[in-house]
């Protein structure tokens, strides 16, 4: 039982509400009446978050794989369908998206002062695009949303960004576009292999009906010949790795983050990066098990590099936003390595870590944005001693810092811990290197905190800074609450993602030899290991 | 003598061919456009003769009338028109000779290489009579051509007439002096 069509309209509503909001704003609200624009956008996004919550409550873990589904013919002659549907994993990301969407709108009231109407319209469009990506189960539909979402982001960076906005915007756009078009080729290859076949690699197809329906393609995953899997995996990899971003493809991230307006950075870090990892878990792993298992080593190494490299580079930054940006490279490295440990703990951890990263890094960008708004300067050297003038701000910043460096009882720890357990059972060497990321993480984050908040106030301009106002507090408090919630009682989140994890792993397992997991760690207790197994 | 008789066709063909080519060379070689035009006229006539050799009498006639009669006159007229303004460029050729020679060489080489494989042309009936017959009974080539032209090839024929109309319109548009339009007027408007 793949689909459960119950309440399908709800999912569609969640996805398209922001679009409707954008259209209404476009046609019915005057450009001059900025207050109305702001509050309407806030209303829409808040409403969107609220109606997204039932998805979680009504989701049945032991029900159909994809629930709240809608399946309609779209372009029957080529087998393109309109398929919406979510599992726990997608629901988590949808909730994250809607929440961050709301927060980023709400946090922009004073940050954005010009061309406000367009700004909020773009934010709303962006949200529909992102939600669509998480909802669609037809490759073409997925691709459509995947691309659509680029455009508003491009404008958010390009119009409301910093000094090098044009450069950053086009770089972001081109980077991602190249990745995604390659992905498109991979999609087509799968599509034809399922159907008529591929003269390209001299492959006869399976002769099934031509379709882009992902769950159907899941069925044929095991029959796809390895070399085809390899190429398709490569195509997907480029597409997703650029979004994540994996180590060699990360260079667009600092520019985009630094130049983007605060809300843009929040969305970028909070949601857009997750699309890459989402793609891996939703498509690469289950569709191409063989290639995945073969790729494990390489991806693992890249991820380790990303973790350490990102952390070290972050340490050298002089610009707060850049620092946070590179820290995301490091954190997403954790997500990837956990994912490719290919066991439950690793996968669960990496999914949870996606959420955590969304919360922590999102909050960090908000926080940086708050001082930026006051001082219009992001240079760390400009600050120092803020703890004296902005105690509350300092407190929030401290909490988020701790969550980002993985202090127990906060969200970051749970993610990293689970990931590392999984990774350790895949390869203790990876775990060894990955764990250094925790030390370095503490290094750069605390150093940042030190330089920004401690010591005397050296810079005259900082003397007059005002502490957080109520609105700013309320943009942060939800995230902090979430951080503690996940840190103290992550069980609901884990439970929500369990079905997905099991299915994905079940689909990858076909390509995995038994016992693989054990061999890696055998090194530890090599001499005694075997007779022990004999005994038990 | 009997050699001439027995090889009459060859002799005639080669003679005409040489003359045609000579005319063609003249077209691209002669400095003065008028001379070039005249040598083109010469070529036309030779080609017409070759048509006759291939039992295309009607076509030969058309060639002479339309080309030699119509087009050449037009050309000469225009040349005169231009010449009085003394506009013949002083240098005749463009400088880029060398590469072009190469290109032409490559082109011709390739094509000739092809032509030698022409031995395997689709088998055809060699009876010229087919070119003079209308469903069985022999009439002249003219009638035969006319028959085909006005029945089977009616559509292209009509279209060609439209082509000529368009050409006329074009010529008028380009040739006509417009009182309404002063040079750059459009520019001023645009």
């Amino acid at each position: 039982m793949t689909y459960d069509f119950n309440l399908g309209w709800l999912l569609n509503l969640v996805c398209y509400l922001p679009l409707i909001g954008a259209l209404l704003t476009m046609f019915f609200i005057k450009k001059e009446n900025s207050a109305a624009v702001k509050w309407f956008a806030t209303l829409i996004t808040g409403l969107d978050f609220i109606i997204a919550i039932p998805l979680w409550l009504l989701y049945q873990p032991d029900g159909a794989e994809f629930q709240f589904a809608t399946v309609k013919q779209w372009i029957p002659s080529v087998g393109v369908q309109y398929i919406f549907g979510v599992d726990g994993f997608a629901i988590l990301l949808i909730l994250l998206t809607t929440l961050l969407g709301f927060i980023s709108v709400y946090s922009s009231f004073t940050a954005v002062t010009e061309r406000e109407k367009e700004y909020y319209i773009f934010l709303l469009l962006l949200q529909t695009g992102m939600l669509g990506v998480f909802c669609s189960l037809d490759f073409i539909l997925f691709y459509v949303f995947w691309e659509v979402m680029l455009v508003p982001m491009y404008f958010l960076i390009g119009v409301w960004g910093g000094p090098r906005k044009l450069y950053a915007a086009i770089k972001f756009f081109l980077y991602t576009l190249v990745g995604s078009v390659l992905m498109l080729v991979g999609i087509l290859a799968l599509y034809f292999f399922n159907g008529s076949g591929l003269a390209a690699v001299g492959l006869a197809g399976l002769g099934n009906a031509l379709t882009f329906e992902v769950p159907v393609l899941y069925e044929i995953a095991s029959q796809i010949p390895p070399e085809l899997q390899f190429w398709v995996f490569l195509a997907f990899f480029v597409g997703f790795a650029i979004k994540v971003p994996m180590f060699p493809f990360h260079t667009w991230l600092p520019d985009a983050h630094v130049e983007a307006p605060t809300a843009g950075s929040v969305i970028l870090a909070g949601v857009l990066l997750k699309m890459g990892t989402y793609g891996f878990i939703r498509f690469s792993l289950p569709l191409l098990p063989d290639a995945t298992v073969k790729a494990v080593w390489w991806v693992g190494v890249l991820a380790v590099i990303a973790i350490i490299y990102g952390a070290l580079v972050a340490m050298a930054q002089k610009d707060m936003k850049k620092l946070v940006a590179y820290s995301s490279v490091s954190h997403m490295g954790f997500v990837m390595i956990g994912m490719f440990a290919l066991n439950q703990a690793g996968l669960k951890g990496s999914i949870l870590q996606m959420i955590n990263h969304g919360i922590s890094t999102g909050a960090l960008f908000l926080l940086v944005g708050i001082v930026y708004e006051r001082r219009h300067n992001r240079m760390i050297a400009e600050y120092g001693g803020l703890a004296k003038v902005m105690p509350l701000y300092a407190t929030f910043f401290m909490i988020i810092t701790m969550s980002s460096i993985g202090l127990p009882t906060l969200n970051g720890f749970i993610g990293e811990f689970t990931i590392l357990i999984g990774v350790f059972h895949h390869s203790w060497v990876w775990a060894l290197f990955a764990a250094t990321g925790i030390v370095l993480g503490a290094g750069y984050m605390l150093w940042l905190y030190q330089r920004v908040f401690f010591g005397e106030i050296t810079n005259e301009k900082n003397k007059g800074l005002t502490d957080l106002n109520l609105r700013e507090q309320w943009t942060l408090i939800p995230l902090i609450i979430l951080a503690f919630w996940i840190g103290l009682y992550p069980k609901p989140f884990f439970r929500l993602m369990e079905p997905t994890v099991d299915r994905v792993l079940a689909r990858v397992q076909v390509a995995m030899p038994e016992e693989t997991a054990a061999d890696y760690v055998a090194a530890i207790a090599a001499p005694t290991h075997h007779d022990e197994t004999v005994e038990e | 003598m009997d050699f001439i008789v027995s090889h009459f066709a060859q002799i005639v063909f080669y003679t005409l061919a040489v003359l045609t080519v000579a005319g063609g060379v003249g077209v691209i070689a002669l400095r003065n456009p008028v001379h070039a035009a005249l040598s083109l006229l010469w070529t036309f006539l030779m080609v017409a003769a070759l048509f006759v050799l291939r039992h295309a009498e009607f076509l030969a006639a058309v060639q002479v009338l339309v080309y030699a009669g119509g087009i050449m006159v037009l050309f000469l007229f225009v040349i005169m028109l231009v010449n009085v303004r003394g506009l013949t460029p002083d240098t005749v050729y463009l400088s880029q000779l060398a590469p072009l020679a190469i290109v032409a060489g490559v082109l011709i080489g390739a094509l000739l290489a092809v032509v030698f494989s022409l031995g395997v042309l689709a088998a055809g009936s060699h009876d010229a009579t087919a070119l003079q017959q209308v469903d069985g009974l022999v009439v002249g080539n003219t009638e035969a051509v006319g028959m085909v032209l006005y029945t089977k090839y009616l559509v292209p024929f009509e279209v060609v007439s439209v082509v000529l109309l368009v050409a006329m319109i074009g010529a008028i548009i380009f040739g006509r002096r417009d009182a309404a339009l002063v040079r750059g007027a459009g520019e001023a408007e645009r």
């Binding site: 576009l177 080729v185 087509l188 | 689709a122 368009v166 645009r190």
Partner: protein, 481 residues
């Protein structure tokens, strides 16, 4: 032959007559009656459309008329309607422009109509002879149209270049036809196909003929290396003409290309495919990359249209059913998005050549938000970003190519379409992100007709992008030969 046989030929006859009538009507009331003439022209085009539908719609499968000179099938109907739409839109866009320029509209309209007749014959030609004359009719009309602003140096120059090169290419085409005729012994497409299908022939003369014909067609669709005329002709021609010739003749030429190569010469595909492969790749790369640094919008769109020809060629290279209809679909999509973009250029063109420099677009998002939004939409479409029709068109072309096994070609295409985004977005950047240095944003003409047409194109681009099903179903049903 019985008069009844002429009935399916009515649309062409009517158009030709209408063209002549317009000529006569146009002469007395030029240049002031331009709008009237245009209106008449569009009406006659509409009537023709009805006729085409009456003639073509009820038929299932193809049938030939008038001594197998013409064939009426769904493909012909589709392309004819497309061409009619394109011509109508260009005429409506041209009206105000011609009025302003002082050149009358009479000859313009009739020439567009004659060109349309030529294209009709091209797309439904069943015989090399008829196809050739159709082609020439179209070509000659367009030569004249390009040089229509005979007092503009650029216009004349464009015409001269286009004419000389066009004549050269049609000579080459003819030579190819003659070789094909000599080797297959017939001019009739169907029988050519049958003979080649009966005995797949590797006679070099025949193949050479086919390749030369391919050259001629490549020239008409402006593919590398026969693209050279395009930028200058497009830049020189009056903008409405550019809009027209970048769309309608291209569509017709592709239709003829399909009839010849996916139809008649299909049995020889393994021989000629390589030529088209190279041409397609080169065209995509050259068009996109050369467009990157163009600062004149018309010229940039010219290069972009070269690039699009390259994409469309992929369908021919793939030479499978999907390839065939995806080319036609792409022509449809391309027609609307390109016409839309050019309509925008027309609106912007004021004194001299201003409105053609890319910098003239700075700050338009401020002064004319709606227009800018539409232009953005067309740019996205041309770059192939969903949910525009441009994406759908590309999608099917890529699909066809991947299916045919031309992955490398597809990779080139996808990378190049990513590159293309860059130069399309240079305009967007000017409009949206460069407002600060827009000292005086270029003022736009208020021309209801053009605006209406732009809106129409936008809607079409949206609809086809969101719900292409009807078109796709119609197209995927048709087959040639």
């Amino acid at each position: 032959m019985p008069l009844a046989e002429f009935v399916p030929f009515l649309p062409e006859i009517f158009l030709a007559a209408a063209g002549f009538a317009l000529l006569l009507v146009g002469i007395p009331l030029r240049p002031h009656g331009t709008r009237v003439v245009s209106a008449l022209a569009v009406t006659s085009l509409a009537i023709t459309a009805v006729l085409v539908l009456l003639v073509g719609r009820p038929t299932e499968g193809a049938f030939t008329i008038l001594g197998e000179m013409l064939v009426i099938d769904q493909m012909a109907v589709f392309v004819k309607l497309l061409v009619l739409a394109a011509s109508a839109i260009s005429i409506l866009m041209a009206a105000g422009y011609l009025e302003r320029s002082g050149y009358g509209g009479g000859e313009f309209c009739s020439l567009v109509l004659y060109a349309t007749v030529g294209m009709f014959v091209m797309v439904s030609g069943a015989n090399l002879a008829s196809m050739y004359v159709g082609l020439e009719l179209m070509a000659l009309s367009v030569y004249v149209l390009v040089g229509y602003f005979k007092l503009e140096v650029k216009s004349n120059e464009g015409a001269v270049k286009y004419f000389v090169l066009g004549a050269l290419s049609s000579g080459i085409l003819l030579y190819g036809i003659s070789l094909v005729y000599g080797t297959t012994g017939t001019l009739d497409l169907q029988s050519i196909h049958d003979r080649l299908a009966a005995v797949p022939d590797n006679n070099l003369a025949l193949l050479l003929g086919i390749v030369l014909v391919a050259f001629g067609m490549l020239f008409k669709v402006a593919a590398v290396p026969f693209h050279v005329w395009t930028p200058d002709a497009y830049e020189g021609a009056p903008t409405p003409v550019t809009a027209f010739m970048s769309v309608a003749p291209k569509a017709a030429a592709f239709a003829m290309f399909l009839r010849l190569f996916a139809g008649a010469f299909a049995p020889e595909v393994d021989y000629w495919r390589v030529v088209l492969w190279v041409a397609s790749a080169a065209t995509m790369i050259y068009g996109n990359i050369a467009a990157l640094t163009q600062d004149n919008v018309k010229r940039m769109l010219a290069y972009s249209s070269i690039a699009h020809a390259g994409y469309a060629l992929m369908g021919l290279v793939a030479a499978n059913v999907m390839g065939t209809w995806s080319v036609l679909l792409y022509m449809l999509v391309y027609a609307f998005m390109n016409l839309g973009a050019f309509g925008f250029v027309i609106l912007l063109e004021s004194r001299g050549y201003t409105g053609e420099a890319i910098t003239d677009y700075a700050g338009l998002a401020r002064s004319h938000p709606a227009a800018a939004a539409l232009m953005l939409w067309f740019m996205l479409a041309l770059a192939g970003i969903p949910p525009t029709a441009g994406f759908m068109g590309k999608l099917y072309l890529f699909a066809a190519a991947v299916n045919g096994g031309y992955v490398v070609l597809t990779l080139i295409a996808v990378v190049m379409s990513a590159v293309s985004l860059y130069y399309y977005f240079r305009i967007v950047v000017q409009m949206y992100l460069r407002d600060e240095e827009a000292a005086r944003p270029a003022e736009m003409h208020r021309d209801r007709w053009v605006e209406a047409m732009i809106a129409l194109c936008a809607v079409a681009t949206l609809v086809v992008g969101i719900y292409p099903t009807p078109v796709v179903q119609w197209l995927s049903a048709l087959q040639l030969m």
